[in-house]
Subunit: 202 residues, 2 copies
């Protein structure tokens, strides 16, 4: 008689959503989380002070500088960065607790951070979001209305540098229409759950 | 100024749908082709005589035995098999003509055939369909009502042998509810179009 053909629902996957600044990563991620509750967002750690209404463990995990550096020393972050005077990082423990529940964990992160994650978690699903065209990226950055001409140029140059990392990613999704981009990412998430290399087979 | 960020719509992907006999490959494929017209079915070549109503190039490409063996000699088939007195094969040229148009080409095939395709077309997307359980496979084979007890046992033994090839596939999809299985395969097809390694980038 044939052996059992049952598959176990295994651990969730780490899904890294990345791409040049201004490409609309945040909007796509929010739309995705709203529509599909079987995916959870990773929560970052930071040394910056909580703002009014922010709650520890909801918007961020808040740490003192000393605590943060201690954790960093212990390899407790999947990636970290210093932005002006504050540290930010992705707590490995929190990500693991989501995956352990069988939920996929979504990580929205810039290209530099994604490359750090890749070195620590190579089995992650790395998705690169690109604008439909260069002109559209200029328009999106300009439309924020908060940036000077010089700042826009700086962002575009950085975007070009970041595009060079595309080959380190698994998937590329053009963010033309939000709905389309979201459904493509959804398809990637569903497909990756079916990967033979990820399925717990007994 | 940043370079163009436009992606070219590249060639389609070869999607191999395979799995043990009785698992419902054919039903899933038909449902998929009906719902999503951007995927085309591969057409097989055969030496068997056309039946009433069958048309060359629609149900099959009909060849004489001599023609078939000649083509086989020239490596014109992605895979081939002899079933009783007739030959069957997948014409490489036809598959390539579909892919060239940017359409994905669906190939529904048994495990032995899929392994031949894998050796000739390793960049194909190999999907293994499995029954939700062993008991369900027995039920499905028995329900056809055309097989004897001995024949059912033979099929189950073969299914077990075929399961050993799972690790050569990229994806595994449990065919529990038809709609679910179809949407998972659809997700795999959409995701594979977004693969960095497959996208034509300039």
């Amino acid at each position: 008689m044939v052996k059992s053909m049952n598959f176990q629902k295994g651990k969730g996957n780490l899904i890294i959503i990345s791409g040049p600044s201004g490409v609309g990563k945040g909007t796509v991620c929010r739309a995705l989380l709203e529509k599909y509750p079987d995916v959870s967002l990773s929560i970052s750690a930071t040394t910056r002070k909580p703002r009014v209404g922010e709650q520890n463990g909801r918007e961020y995990f808040f740490y003192t500088r000393e605590e943060f550096l201690n954790l960093r020393e212990k390899n407790a972050f999947l990636e970290w960065a210093k932005v002006f005077d504050n540290y930010y990082g992705t707590p490995l423990k929190y990500v693991e607790s989501i995956l352990q529940q069988g939920q996929d964990c979504l990580l929205e992160i810039d290209v530099q951070g994604a490359m750090q994650v890749k070195s620590k978690w190579p089995t992650g699903v790395f998705i690169f979001i690109v604008p439909p065209s260069c002109e559209e990226l200029v328009r999106r950055i300009s439309n924020r209305g908060t940036e000077s001409q010089a700042e826009i140029q700086k962002r575009l140059n950085r975007a070009e540098e970041e595009m060079a990392h595309l080959k380190s990613y698994d998937y590329v999704v053009v963010n033309d229409l939000l709905e389309d981009a979201m459904e493509k990412i959804r398809a990637i998430i569903v497909a990756e759950r079916c990967r033979v290399s990820r399925v717990d087979w007994r």
